[in-house]
């Protein structure tokens, strides 16, 4: 059983909702990433999403674009990201880590080499934003063979046939994109999300995480009423981007705690 499956399994049993937090690897500084990940777990993160910086993050809004640019300016490569995961794993053997990024850095390394190295480093899942199911049948199979969950996005515009395709190919969980737009957009319609989730549930037994545009404890709690997990990314990065390096981890903890409490209430 994968770490992701195990975590969702125990949460379902306890009727708890998972909190997934995203940071871009190497932002604001490569040396801060591992301490930041530990800090997020201490404050209540259940699953960590680690963004792999890319020069052309087409599906991301300005906040994650800036994070990617800051990390690239410090020379962070996919190899470095895997090294950060390996380092994190020395102290934390249970919290699932999902890498989220774009296809090109993976293809530049070579899919087989990447998946083998990711498995060895302790990665549990991968989201390749620009690998829709029709372009990555073999990549998904390769990931599964190495015990890594290929996680796919679904969107408000996804048809029933696409939901079934993602349910067939994906594992770990399904990432439901809560709005029509890019990451961090400001027009989340919670009711529309809640209305769509039952249709996805009907097609899959995979847990559903919801992200893109969740900005506070209140919207997180309302979404968690129907979803298995909520994902917070841009809002966390925004919170950290103006903070001096020495205070980043503490600020992250302070940001996460009330959301955790709201989810557990």
């Amino acid at each position: 059983m994968s770490r992701i499956e195990a975590r969702f399994g125990s949460f379902r049993a306890q009727r708890r909702k998972a909190l997934i937090l995203f940071v871009t690897a190497g932002d604001p500084d490569p040396a801060l990433t591992v301490p930041l990940l530990h800090g997020l777990v201490e404050a209540g993160a259940d699953i960590l999403e680690l963004g792999v910086p890319f020069s052309d993050p087409m599906a991301d809004g300005p906040v994650i674009q800036r994070a990617s640019e800051r990390a690239l300016a410090k020379g962070v490569s996919l190899r470095d990201v895997l090294e950060m995961v390996r380092s994190f794993r020395q102290r934390d053997g249970t919290t699932p880590i999902v890498l989220m990024g774009y296809a090109n850095p993976i293809e530049a390394m070579g899919a087989e080499r990447f998946i083998a190295a990711a498995a060895a480093a302790g990665v549990d899942g991968v989201i390749v934003v620009d690998y829709p199911p029709e372009e990555c049948e073999s990549f998904a199979a390769l990931a599964k063979r190495h015990g890594i969950d290929p996680i796919f996005l679904l969107a408000p515009t996804s048809t029933g046939a696409r939901v079934e395709e993602v349910a067939r190919l994906g594992s770990g969980f399904i990432y439901y994109v809560s709005l029509k737009g890019v990451t961090g957009a400001g027009h989340l319609d919670v009711d529309a999300v809640l209305a769509r989730l039952p249709q996805i549930r009907a097609a899959t037994s995979l847990p559903i995480g919801v992200g893109f545009g969740i900005r506070d404890a209140d919207s997180a709690r309302r979404i968690a009423g129907q979803a298995d997990a909520v994902v917070i990314a841009s809002r966390l990065i925004e919170e950290l981007e103006s903070v001096p390096a020495a205070q980043v981890v503490e600020r992250a903890r302070a940001f996460v705690r009330p959301i955790r409490e709201a989810l557990d209430r």
Binding site: F54, S55, D56, P57, M58, A59, G61, P62, Q65, E69, L72, S77, L78, R79, Y102, A103, N104, P105, I106, E107, A108, M109, V129, D130, Y131, P132, E134, E135, F152, L153, L154, A155, T157, S158, T159, R162, V166, V177, K180, G181, V182, A185
Partner: protein
């Protein structure tokens, strides 16, 4: 070789092309494929397109024998396909008219576009005005500075021009930003991509709309020169004018197809935009193709004297034509292109776009090595009025 049948149903040209986009765009692309399939098989659509190309764009564009320049070069005869004579001054409008008609068929009141040199932005703003659509053009902040006249042209035509400040602030970043706009306004917005790149069906659709260039040449060359050319030569940034003139010639096995990329300050300097000559396969902007990238898969910043060639990728069909050997790809430097620009001005009374000057420069080199009875057909994809400030500046002249 059955290459004219490509791409396959999922948009693949061999290992290239495809639909590498986030799930958030998959539905919009499916809708577009459906609409394009419908229009492609609709006689009424083709009739209207032909009418617009004739009466609004001014097609067919002539083929012209550059006799004096050929004589000067002392070798093969150079013929020019005069896409510079189209309305708005470049081949770009062939495609924007077609896509705008599809947008209208789909009932989308708003069109968006990315632009580098501004020619595709102008062509999009033009058709938006013609068909009464709202128009937003994304343009890198760096390109806005170097193409001020085209920015003003777009504004005169009623378009909003949005400066893109992310990444390298050039064409690739404008494309990213246009995709983000599309994903956010997917119900009422049609994204008019300007080149044969992007996710399926764009590479195929843009090629189909530009293929009128080559179809006309296949008729015009025998009329004017008595036979088909020995080689067809076109510049390649994203590759739309090249695909447009190549497509009808792909089955003509005796005709060499030569794409000319921007070598910038020289391939060895790293400051160039020659994705096919110096790049490696990867995934960007929705398709798999040759890219300029570093060892970690980050997209490289490119350089060319011509903003329209300043792009780190290339249309996937070119990647396929390269690997299959049907087309050859070469690169010429800023300096060589500039020389050809001046030569065409002085010997033929035609001011070419700096993009097209790359094709001219290679044609000049090749012509000099061939006998006088050989025929080279060059796609003169655009006129150079937009480049006059750049050329003047490089000549040390303040206008």
């Amino acid at each position: 070789m059955q290459m004219v049948d490509l791409p396959d149903a999922r948009g693949h040209f061999g290992p290239y092309g495809g639909v590498f986009v986030a799930e958030t765009l998959m539905h919009a692309l499916a809708e577009l494929r459906q609409a394009y399939d419908h229009c492609r098989g609709d006689a009424g659509f083709h009739q209207e397109l032909r009418h617009e190309l004739k009466h609004f764009v001014g097609r067919p564009s002539p083929v012209y024998h550059a006799r004096r320049w050929s004589q000067q070069l002392g070798g093969a005869q150079i013929y020019l396909k005069r896409e510079d004579l189209n309305h708005t001054g470049a081949h770009k409008i062939n495609n924007t008219v077609g896509q705008a008609l599809i947008a209208r068929h789909m009932g989308k009141p708003r069109v968006i576009a990315e632009t580098g040199a501004g020619q595709h932005g102008v062509a999009t703003a033009t058709v938006a005005a013609r068909y009464g659509m709202q128009c937003v053009v994304y343009m890198g902040a760096t390109d806005i500075e170097r193409q001020a006249v085209n920015v003003y042209r777009m504004k005169l035509l009623g378009a909003a021009v949005v400066p893109v400040e992310s990444g390298s602030k050039t064409l690739k970043d404008a494309l990213n930003e246009a995709m983000r706009d599309w994903v956010t306004h997917v119900e009422d917005t049609f994204y008019i991509i300007g080149t044969v790149a992007g996710p399926h069906p764009y590479p195929m659709m843009v090629r189909d709309f530009q293929a009128v260039i080559g179809r006309e040449c296949v008729e015009q060359m025998p009329e004017l020169a008595g036979r088909q050319p020995d080689a067809v030569i076109a510049c390649v940034g994203g590759g739309s004018n090249a695909m447009g003139i190549f497509h009808a010639y792909v089955p003509h096995a005796g005709v060499r197809l030569i794409g000319v990329e921007a070598a910038g300050e020289g391939i060895a300097t790293g400051r160039h935009a020659a994705s096919l000559c110096a790049g490696t396969p990867g995934v960007l902007h929705g398709n798999r193709t040759y890219l300029l990238q570093d060892a970690n898969g980050q997209i490289a910043e490119t350089h060319s004297i011509s903003a329209g060639l300043d792009y780190p990728g290339v249309g996937p069909e070119h990647a396929w034509l390269k690997d299959s050997g049907r087309a050859e790809y070469v690169a010429v430097s800023d300096a060589e292109a500039l020389q050809a620009f001046h030569d065409l001005c002085r010997y033929e009374g035609i001011i070419p776009a700096l993009e097209s000057a790359h094709a001219l420069a290679y044609a000049a080199k090749l012509a000099a090595t061939l006998p006088r009875d050989r025929l080279l057909l060059v796609n003169l994809s655009g006129r150079g009025d937009k480049d006059i400030p750049t050329v003047a500046r490089l000549s040390g002249i303040t206008l």
